[in-house]
Amino acid sequence: MAVASPFVLAVNRFGLGASVSSGALAGDARAALKAEMTPPDPLADLPPTPVLMQQLEVYQAARRDNRKATAMPEMAEGMAPEKPEMMAAGKGKKQARQMDDAPDNPRRRVFIDELSARYDGSLRTPVIGFNERLVMFWANHFAVAVNRSLPVGVLAGAYEREAIRPHIFGSFTDLLISAESHPAMLMYLDNHQSIGPNSRANRKGQRGLNENLAREILELHTLGVNGGYAQADVTSFAKVITGWGLDRKAGDFGFNANQHEPGPQTVLGKAYAQGGQDQGLAVLKDLARHPATAKHIAFKLARHFVADTPPPSLVEKLSQGFTRSDGDLKTVYETLIDAPESWSAQPSKIRSPQEHLIAMIRATDTKMKPALVATTLKAMGQPLWEPPGPNGFADTADVWASPEGLSTRLEVANSLSIRAAERLDARELGDRLFGPSLSETTRTAIARAESRSQGLAILFMSPEFMRR
């Protein structure tokens, strides 16, 4: 492995990979990264949550009427992107089962629009892409999964746009509150159905608490699994956030006082006597400022950007930056950029499938149909917004560097290369993307390739391109 120059590190370790137009940059890599600490594209053309909830409501109402009319069994709602032709066939069947005037299931269309806005837009435009990488990081930290249910499937993109994007350079407290109060998260982790045992909504005494969201906030989003909380804290916190749910009329977050467990609750040894929604907000603010949260976030950021086993000194610096600035994320990122540990010249992280595909697309300026991006990511083992669980996608080499994963990446790199070879020479591209950071070994392997497309495929599968 060649030693990577600071700019190659900036673009690959902290960014989305060099684009064919920008190539390997020169200058002060740290300054260039800090210059990209600007709000990411808000993707404002896409519909907000209330509009999507409205579309969903119309569709579901029509489906209910339809089922009554035809007495059809409820169709299973699997996750959308199958092969395009399969989808087309399924759609046809679906339409045949529906009344002529029934609206289409919005999930697929919305998902494709959301994917396209990123893969044809916001992921291509930045020179480095640090801000988009942070969006991806936080969207995975506060993961929701499109295959959880139809509503979560429709809202996953809006969730990332509304709850994550605007807050990645703000305070962690705001990011935390906006993520936990978004309808997508509340539905993904069942909190809209959680009923306080002594609430007005449980007068008959047949319904109760759902601890799912409370547990994941503590275990995944804030303190971390060893963050010092007990089962009693989970239960109390779950009671605190009863009532955090949906306002069906507004198609957005709503606090349902009827579901809220009345009275004070004790979480992590502190009593919270606030009423209603304020009780949950108070707990979230304290969780955001907790030292365990600082450590947990510091470790995850360091692991994501720098190394699977990050240097403890780096984690400590980030944690201190987090605490000192009261969770100001900009300060934390500046600490990350300034730390010498972040600039080890030996790239060790294996790119995730998503990062790898984006890097190939940017390197070749390939236009890829959104449906093909979706199926490709799925085949590579990282379908968009569809992690295996609330803990999001893994962030370590042992998960991504598998024979199956490598096999799929080979195929993807190959397909992309066949098309790109009409326009690009792998030797020139390797130079433009990596400059002197491309090892002699890789250079030779590319130069000896049997064809232009094989040369590109070798470049995209080279250690320099696979790692960051």
Partner: protein, 393 residues
């Protein structure tokens, strides 16, 4: 994962894309077809058409000389690789010819640059916008009918057919982007520079999750797969057989970079090429009589074998001509010999024929393209390269 598949531009059935017969018919009284098959990776001409009558053959070829035993005789000096019985049959019937010790104007040893020169028809590298076959479309003599159309076969159109003239694209639906040689090359790269990726790739190959190479597995679906070569040939021939179909076509077959295990690999690859030529003959039907297939590669390989039962990049090699329009039964070219002093840079077969002379000969005799167009447009700067006369019956 499927690659982007290009659809035929409304070619199936009666289409308005083609009106009447090709113009060349008016010029020559025939309705000629011309196919170029590019072999990417550099075919070893000394294994494809071994000069078994050369006194130095056994000495310089070492263990690679063993193909002599089963080779199919062509004349006193040359035999044909035993994997090509169909071509041997065509040769005997006067419908197949070999040009030996041939090369493009390229004299370095990079596949990329070699293929660029071979396909672009330019004397220098760096030209990748248009190929000589596409420019040939633009200089066809003006006749009465609709212009002659070109066809590019494969996931993308080979450079030789790309350019200003609009061409059709077609690929077998089952063509997969598999590159049987890629895992082996990455294996070598990872072995030198990335232990983790090397371990994972090795495991993938050992468990069969990743196809190691063509000799170990039946790498299916790519253009180095003999079955796929045949499919590509059949598809192209189907279109070219139609009264209003394309008349020029370009295909590319991968996998010819035989640095190791050359004899086994060429048996498979040349077998595929042989079947593909036969598929053209069968599928074109009566149109075969008016067809020329030209098989070319970017350069040849070293005269001496390397240490892994293969050969490294060289210079002079062979080109094949097949089809009813070919004046066959001949091996064309001046044989330079295999003695040390007769080799190019003391290692490669010395090129004695310029490939452009072959192509110019076909274009002039089969399509009536003028010498000035050939030297100015199709092969710029080739005034000194005279067309070889009499290749076309």
């Amino acid at each position: 994962m499927t690659i982007h598949r290009r659809n035929l531009l409304g070619l199936m059935g009666a289409s308005a894309a083609f009106g009447g017969f090709g113009m060349a018919q008016a010029a020559t009284g025939r309705d000629p077809r011309f196919v170029t098959i590019i072999l990417r990776g550099a075919l070893d001409g000394l294994s494809a058409v071994p000069p078994v009558g050369d006194p130095d053959f056994d000495r310089v070829r070492g263990e690679l000389a063993s193909i002599k035993a089963d080779a199919l005789p062509l004349n006193d000096l040359f035999a044909l690789n035993p994997a090509m019985p169909q071509f041997a049959r065509l040769y005997k019937a006067g419908q197949g010819a070999v040009v030996h010790a041939v090369a493009s104007s390229y004299r370095e040893r990079s596949h990329f640059d070699g293929q660029d020169i071979l396909e672009s028809g330019q004397e220098k590298t760096g030209f990748t916008r248009s190929g000589w076959m596409n420019r040939l479309l633009t200089v066809m003599p003006k006749g009465q009918g609709a212009p002659i159309r070109g066809l590019g076969v494969g996931a993308t159109t080979p450079l030789v057919m790309r350019g200003e003239a609009e061409v059709l694209g077609w690929a077998p639906s089952s063509l997969s982007p598999v590159d049987p040689d890629l895992p082996a090359r990455l294996m070598a790269l990872y072995e030198q520079s990335d232990p983790l990726l090397y371990r994972v790739l090795t495991e993938g190959v050992e468990t069969g999750k990743i196809a190691a190479n063509m000799t170990q597995t039946n790498a299916r679906g790519g253009s180095a797969d003999p079955a796929m070569m045949v499919q590509m040939a059949q598809g192209a021939a189907n279109l070219m057989a139609q009264p209003e179909g394309p008349r020029l076509a370009a295909l590319a077959f991968d996998g010819w970079d035989t640095h190791a295990q050359e004899t086994a690999r060429l048996t498979k690859l040349l077998g595929g090429l042989d079947q593909a030529i036969a598929a053209f003959e069968t599928t074109l039907g009566p149109a075969w009589q008016d067809t020329t297939i030209l098989v070319v590669t970017e350069f040849g390989r070293t005269v001496n074998p390397n240490g892994t039962k293969g050969t490294d990049h060289g210079t002079g090699t062979v080109a094949f001509l097949a089809g009813g329009a070919v004046k066959g039964g001949r091996v064309i070219g001046d044989w330079p010999g295999l003695k040390d002093g007769q080799l190019y840079e003391n290692r490669d077969l010395m090129p004695t024929t310029d490939l452009r002379a072959v192509i110019k000969g076909i274009a002039a005799d089969q399509f009536g393209v003028s010498a000035s167009s050939l030297s100015a447009t199709v092969f710029p700067g080739s005034e000194r390269v005279a067309p070889i006369k009499g290749l076309i019956a």
